[in-house]
Subunit: 194 residues, 2 copies
Amino acid sequence: MARSKEFEIHEVLDKAMILFWEQGYEKTSMSDLVEHMGIHRRSLYDTFGDKHSLFLQAMDRYIGKVETRLTQEVKQSETATEAMRAVFRFMIAEQDHSPSGCMIVNSMTELAARDAEINIKSMRSLASTEEMFERIIVWGQQTGEFSSGCEPKEAAEYLQALSIGIRAMGRTTVDTEKLVRIMNMAIRFLTQPS
Amino acid sequence: MARSKEFEIHEVLDKAMILFWEQGYEKTSMSDLVEHMGIHRRSLYDTFGDKHSLFLQAMDRYIGKVETRLTQEVKQSETATEAMRAVFRFMIAEQDHSPSGCMIVNSMTELAARDAEINIKSMRSLASTEEMFERIIVWGQQTGEFSSGCEPKEAAEYLQALSIGIRAMGRTTVDTEKLVRIMNMAIRFLTQPS
């Protein structure tokens, strides 16, 4: 029995996502994509449109996957501290068979300054992560795990910046241990009385 | 009287640096560079070598300028807190007539994962900034401005990640006020008793 068209679309879109995540937008040519996605150039254009349109769809696919995973990590955690650690560990850890770093952070630094659509998509994704940080901080303040001395919205902005830094450093050969130490210091600051 | 050759080299290299900083490595073609630098293609190759070699020289030029400026900012500060603010403000503020964000952070996310030379250059530049953060923290702990509860090396790693996040966010349309709030929270954490 033939697989559904929807399944195939997700499968080939994932291949485009991985390639863009690994090497960025400009480096990736339509010929690379045709070869890597294993479909005909004509089908690629018919299904996804041009390279820019395919990139936007690959970003949506990436954002959807990451948000699903982060929501799961938070749900499975028994304390706010455990949830915060799970989120940071997901951002630090190299995923098996995945490129290093984060496709959103890469796309921001490569394209947001000159591409309004990428800028908007990146900003929306950051806003969603920031809201998640805020919810975890409120949770931790309610249980007494985190100090009530900081305003959750401001602390979430700060954790957002820190997590972007960690994800950018993940593109280099920096030690994972170093990124874990940075996470620990950020969490320690949240628990200090002000 | 003709200007010295050295002066001209710096002047045209600055033009290449600005173009790479603005649009990244892959987007920038040799034809863009020839046009933007205002020299002949042959002179470009003779003086700077190929695009990759020119990019490495542009990065060195950028790193040199930033380090000189940061050293000045720190020297002119009367307190460690003032020095820390000056460093972050330099990273936050849009420089007049300059592209947004930071060329090192852009180069890291675009290239460090697949280009060993860019990775090494980025890591060296980060190490130098981290040492500067560490010196400011030691200074502030000695004067009692910062809490002695954190280990200067670890706190410097953490500030490094935060500052990379701030510089990456600077490529988007995020408010400068938000980046200033993030800086303030980071400095506040350094002053808290642990």
